[in-house]
């Protein structure tokens, strides 16, 4: 009886590829091929969704449609970051998010939770979420400890103002400030017990910055990529792009795709509402690059 053939060695990852462990999932993130993160909001605070999804069934249906369109992860928002409305009570956020997380996890869908609240993070991690998208920039270190305890990934977003606060700060050098925050908060997360490889960095388009600084940070992506960590870009319907074209927030799909075009060399995630269109763009752009080689 002949010896079984040795198992083939795993293919080496390409240059710049980042492997992100996130609880039960592992994302292999290649430059030029970002994972599309589809956005689902579970509360009435967000009006970014063109159709509010009031019921769990409607939210699940939309999320699974995103998966069918090519989303690799669903980002569940429990308290919109809009600056014109008050926060949803925490118990209401938990009650709305947990059943959706459980349903998506049962379908094998990776779930991220968009929250700055440790109470929400704890409940949804226990329900099976694999990533916390902390839009406060780790204002509460308990979030990092919770991610560490659940082997989850943690998104550290650059902002210098509180959740739901509109501000256009005057940064002398916005890229340097982003780098400072990434360095500081990553070290804090690691000190809290989280493995560095589980950190995802989000430069925070539209968070506490004037539109001109958003353009500056988009031009500096190679600096952020050089940190060797996954990058998340909230690319959807951003103010900076609306300033350029004059399009209102409800109609910024070309602007969203332009933002994705500008950052897709980063290994990581692009967070969008228009999953199908962005997936179609990314697939066509990747195919065109292969054919040009």
């Amino acid at each position: 009886m002949s010896e079984p053939a040795p198992a083939p060695a795993p293919a080496p990852h390409g240059q710049g590829t980042v492997v992100l462990p996130a609880a039960q999932h592992t994302f292999t993130l290649e430059p030029g091929r970002p994972v599309v993160m589809g956005i689902i909001n579970t509360n009435p605070g967000s009006f970014s969704d063109t159709v509010h999804l009031a019921s769990l069934d409607a939210q699940l249906e939309r999320a699974m449609a995103f998966v069918a369109q090519g989303a690799g992860i669903i980002d569940v928002g429990t308290d919109s970051g809009v600056t014109y409305g008050a926060s949803i009570p925490l118990e209401q956020q938990v009650a709305a998010a947990v059943p959706l997380v459980e349903a998506l996890v049962a379908e094998g869908v990776p779930v991220s939770i968009d929250t700055p609240y440790a109470v929400v993070a704890r409940a949804t991690l226990e329900a099976g979420a694999c990533m916390i998208n902390d839009v406060s920039g780790l204002a509460d270190l308990a979030i990092a400890r919770l991610c560490a305890a659940h082997d989850a990934a943690l998104v550290i977003l650059h902002t210098r103002v509180g959740h739901k606060q509109e501000a256009f700060l005057d940064f002398p050098d916005v890229v340097a400030d982003i780098e400072d925050l990434f360095e500081e908060r990553t070290a804090m997360a690691v000190a809290a017990g989280l493995a560095r490889e589980r950190v995802v960095l989000d430069p925070g388009l539209g968070y506490s910055k004037p539109p001109s600084d958003d353009v500056a940070l988009l031009r500096a992506y190679d600096t952020f990529i050089a940190r060797g960590l996954a990058i998340l870009t909230g690319a959807s319907r951003k103010l900076y792009a609306g300033v350029i074209t004059g399009a209102p927030p409800t109609d910024r799909l070309p602007e969203t795709i332009a933002t994705v075009a500008a950052v897709r060399r980063a290994p990581g995630f692009v967070r969008v509402h228009d999953v199908g269109a962005v997936r179609a763009y990314l697939d066509a752009a990747a195919s065109a690059e292969v054919s040009r080689r």
Binding site: A118, I244, P248, P254, E255, I257, A261, A262
Partner: protein, 124 residues
């Protein structure tokens, strides 16, 4: 995104970037076509169109013919600013047309208090 079956008004870019000429079907032009593609209001078709347009974004000799001409110009305008081929236009952050607003019937609470709840004994 607009299309033949949409009643959403189309938005024309306030910044028209250098690069390819973009026009609708039926219009005549002096240069050979580089891309001709109908989108018909399909967002995924728009995504594929813009992927095809992207490599031509700085090509002054290229010509793109599509019913998504306004969307194509907006895509090119954003990329042109990011890449520094045109300056960021002046803007007014007080312009209400650029921002999200509380919908009718919902009371606006500008900059509500942040509510980051401490756990494990740590006060944020």
């Amino acid at each position: 995104m607009s299309g033949p079956t949409s009643d959403v008004p189309r938005h024309v870019s306030r910044l028209v970037p250098p690069g390819p000429s973009v026009r609708t079907h039926g219009a005549s032009g002096p240069v050979p076509l580089s891309i001709e593609l109908r989108v018909d209001g399909d967002p995924e078709a728009l995504g594929r169109l813009l992927a095809a347009v992207e490599p031509l974004r700085a090509d002054d000799d290229a010509a793109i013919v599509t019913d998504a001409d306004a969307e194509t110009v907006r895509f090119l305008a954003v990329l042109a600013v990011i890449e520094g081929r045109v300056p960021m236009p002046d803007y007014d952050l007080a312009d209400p047309s650029l921002k999200w607003h509380a919908p009718a019937g919902v009371a606006a609470v500008p900059n509500p208090p942040s509510m980051v709840t401490p756990v494990d004994g740590r006060t944020s």
